[in-house]
């Protein structure tokens, strides 16, 4: 794997081998010294042009636990605020001799553009509404650890699909790994076209909730009300929220997931967020070994042999 720009860069076998590798790395985290020398002497730049706490911290820890050198670069502290172009910024970072650039940017497509300006491996940490491939992998990891497989599972992605990079990458990953994916959203929050998307669509959560193996809730943004995408938070919760009542119809062995940060009381009731079926914190934990596996796959010496110290 040269770059990870989109989850579509990986086929099912490649995804599964990353998930297997992540399972190995997960055991590293249980140790007193949760660190392996796999990427010693490699330099990873975290180029976050958009605010992010959890993804950045997760990549940061992942790289450090592989013994890579990590450079944090944030837009506000950088020359971007002095008017430097993205291209100049990337070329400057590259000239320092880095091995990987992990990029988060508000504009769709920037990771792909960046590959034209650098020799480093480029890892997409979220671009606009487009893709968030490591989120898709860590969510797949979480489901796989809990349910054993994604094969044949019914997963609903519920909420603002149109403006969600998580929805795009997760729909593709879950489907590639054999799950049946249903999008649940009003038409205003769906992409204009679902041509080529491996999904079904349901107009309400009630239609599918009893059949689900995973209810994956997406964050809804209040400002979408101003664009007439939905009338009010109250109505959104009533029709599309994972309320206590709806959660009662969810199977006892089903999972509740959310990429965070959650709006408790909007897309997910607080009680449901804290329900035993909720694996929201597992998702966060999974981020580190999964990102270790991704970084290792991009930068490592080849097959990871399982020698963990």
């Amino acid at each position: 794997m040269r770059h990870l720009l989109s989850i579509e860069d990986l086929d099912a076998d490649q995804m599964l081998s990353i998930l297997d590798l992540a399972r190995n790395f997960a055991t590293v985290q249980q140790r007193d010294v949760p660190k392996v020398p796999a990427l010693r002497s490699k330099t990873v730049v975290l180029a976050f042009f958009e605010d992010s706490t959890r993804t950045r911290s997760s990549f940061d820890l992942a790289a450090r636990r592989l013994s890579a050198d990590v450079v944090n670069f944030s837009a506000s502290a950088s020359s971007l605020s002095k008017g430097e172009s993205l291209r100049d910024t990337i070329e400057t970072i590259s000239a320092m001799g880095v091995d990987a650039i992990v990029i988060r940017h508000r504009s769709s497509g920037t990771p792909q553009q960046v590959t034209r300006w650098t020799d480093a491996a480029v890892i997409n940490a979220g671009d606009g509404w487009h893709q968030h491939p490591t989120q898709a992998l860590l969510d797949s990891f979480t489901i796989r650890e809990r349910l054993g497989t994604l094969e044949g599972k019914h997963i609903a992605l519920c909420g603002d699909i149109a403006h969600s990079r998580v929805a795009r990458s997760n729909a593709q990953a879950f489907s590639a790994l054999g799950a049946r994916v249903t999008l649940v959203a009003p038409r205003t929050l769906l992409p204009a076209s679902l041509e080529g998307w491996p999904v079904d669509v349901a107009a309400s959560l009630d239609e599918v909730v009893g059949d689900l193996d995973v209810a994956y809730m997406l964050r809804i943004q209040n400002e979408r009300i101003n664009d007439a995408l939905f009338p009010s938070v109250r109505e959104y919760r009533t029709l599309y929220g994972l309320t206590v009542d709806r959660a009662a119809r969810l199977r006892s062995d089903a999972l509740v997931m959310h990429p965070g940060p959650m709006n408790r009381g909007v897309e997910i009731d607080p009680e449901v967020a804290d329900d035993p079926r909720s694996v929201v914190l597992d998702q966060v934990s999974a981020g580190i070994p999964v990102r270790m596996a991704v970084l290792f796959s991009a930068l490592g010496p080849g097959q990871f042999e399982g020698e963990l110290s």
Binding site: L86, S108, Q113, W129, R168, P191, A192, S193, L194
Partner: protein, 437 residues
């Protein structure tokens, strides 16, 4: 008196195709003789231009060129755009008014006219319909018409307000001009409330790429409205850069109904689709956006059946820096002048004889340039000519272009057919494919 003799070619114009040599008077820039076996007078300093194997045609007229001066001289100047035009066979271009400052004022129009005097082609300024193209106050159309402006447009955006557009049409339609050439309002059709946030065509590709989309209907609603306003006011509307099948169908129906409408289409809209945006290369970002294959096919059909009157390039230079930005932040627009003819020859499944009207005399009439451009090749007419080598094979390279910018969407593409010479008012501005100044 010295002359230039164009020798060995075949003439192709609205009267047909025939062998013929031309003698052009250098001083007046007029064609003084057309006929077989004409030769330079060796007693004088006459020159001979070789047109062997070439077609000699009326020079092309582009109704839609962003020359970027004044305001964005880093991307293009009137001089460099005119050089690109000449290399593409264009002897006249209409300069779009979305400059900085905007071409809504006599002083700016005069500046463009002045800069155009030394250009390699005729530079006909258009002017904004509304002050600052803001859609709130009419530009001084009468004053600007007196300076020679015949086309008004808020291009870059459309006139959003229905009543404002009605009044603009009525006012423009009532103005008289000293040469009797009517004023035309030229519309960039886009209802911005519906296209808001869109950086490419709305559809399968925008949905996959996570980019905001502009639905076809954002264009079509304004085409529909302006057809209604042409009916209401009986004033001519010219539709810029039609990009959707629905727009073509509406213009076809309006023409069938006898309404005073004309239309143009760009080479990129009859060639490229939204799938070109898949790699987030902002050289494919343009407004209106590249659309679907069905739209491309409809535009070709519109060009073939006369619904669309003119091929216009919407030549829109941008610096490499600005196009290297993220796709949603990069400015829209692509180069067109140097590739238009060859792309049309490659893509339209039409004979050059049937393409020429749309490149030359039809736009000349719409743009108020038909007294000197797009005329039959006859003694007494201005020598605004393109000499085309229809067999010349070449590869498009942005950095090789005469334009200051290099944002061509046809980079690397092999094309057949190139302009060998261009003569502007008797002045040989392109000779053997190279600009002479």
């Amino acid at each position: 008196m010295t002359t230039t003799v164009i020798k060995g070619g075949r003439i192709l114009d609205q009267t047909g195709e025939r062998p013929g040599d031309l003698v052009v008077d250098d001083a007046t820039g007029l064609i003084i003789e057309v006929g077989p076996d004409l030769n330079a007078d060796e007693s004088r300093d006459d020159r001979t231009i070789d047109a062997t194997g070439c077609l000699i045609t009326p020079g092309f007229v582009d109704l839609h060129v962003h020359m970027r001066e004044p305001g964005n001289e880093a991307a293009e100047t009137i001089e460099t755009a005119s050089r690109a035009a000449a290399k593409g066979g264009f002897t006249a271009v209409v300069a779009m008014p979305n400059t900085d400052p905007c071409m809504d004022d006599p002083a700016v129009i005069n500046q463009v006219i002045e800069l155009g005097r030394t250009a390699l082609c005729t530079v006909k300024p258009s002017a904004a319909i509304s002050m600052g193209r803001a859609g709130e106050q009419l530009a001084p159309m009468g004053e600007l018409a007196a300076l020679g402006v015949r086309m008004f447009t808020d291009d870059g955006t459309g006139v959003q307000d229905d009543m404002f557009m009605r009044r603009a049409l009525e006012y423009a339609g009532s103005l008289s001009t000293d040469d009797g050439v009517p004023i035309v309002l030229s519309q960039h059709c886009e209802v911005t409330a519906l296209s808001a946030g869109g950086v490419m065509h709305e559809g399968e590709w925008s949905s996959r790429l996570g980019l905001g989309g502009q639905p076809s209907e954002a264009e079509e609603l304004m085409v529909m409205r302006d057809i209604a306003l042409a009916r209401l006011t009986n004033v001519r509307v010219h539709f810029q850069h039609l990009s959707t099948a629905g727009s073509v169908a509406m213009v076809r129906a309006a023409k069938a109904g006898g309404l005073p409408v004309t239309a143009e289409a760009t080479p990129h809209h009859f060639t490229l689709t939204d799938a070109c945006c898949a790699d987030y290369n902002a050289n494919f970002k343009v407004h209106p956006p590249l659309r679907t294959q069905a739209d491309v096919d409809a535009i070709k059909a519109g060009l073939r059946d006369g619904t669309i009157d003119a091929i216009a390039t919407d030549h829109a230079p941008h610096t490499p820096d600005s196009k290297d930005r993220p796709f949603d932040e990069a400015p829209p627009g692509m180069l067109g002048l140097e590739t238009a003819m060859a792309v049309a020859m490659a893509e339209l499944d039409m004979e050059l004889a049937d393409i020429l009207p749309m490149l030359s005399w039809q736009p000349a009439v719409i743009g108020g340039l038909s007294k000197t451009h797009g005329l039959p090749i006859e003694a007494g007419n201005a020598a605004n000519l393109a000499v085309i080598d229809p067999a010349h094979r070449w590869t498009v390279s942005g950095t090789d272009m005469a334009s200051k910018a290099n944002n061509t969407p046809f980079e690397g593409r092999e094309l057949v057919g190139r302009v060998r010479h261009t003569i502007h008012h008797g002045d040989v501005v392109v000779e053997n494919g190279e600009a002479t100044r």
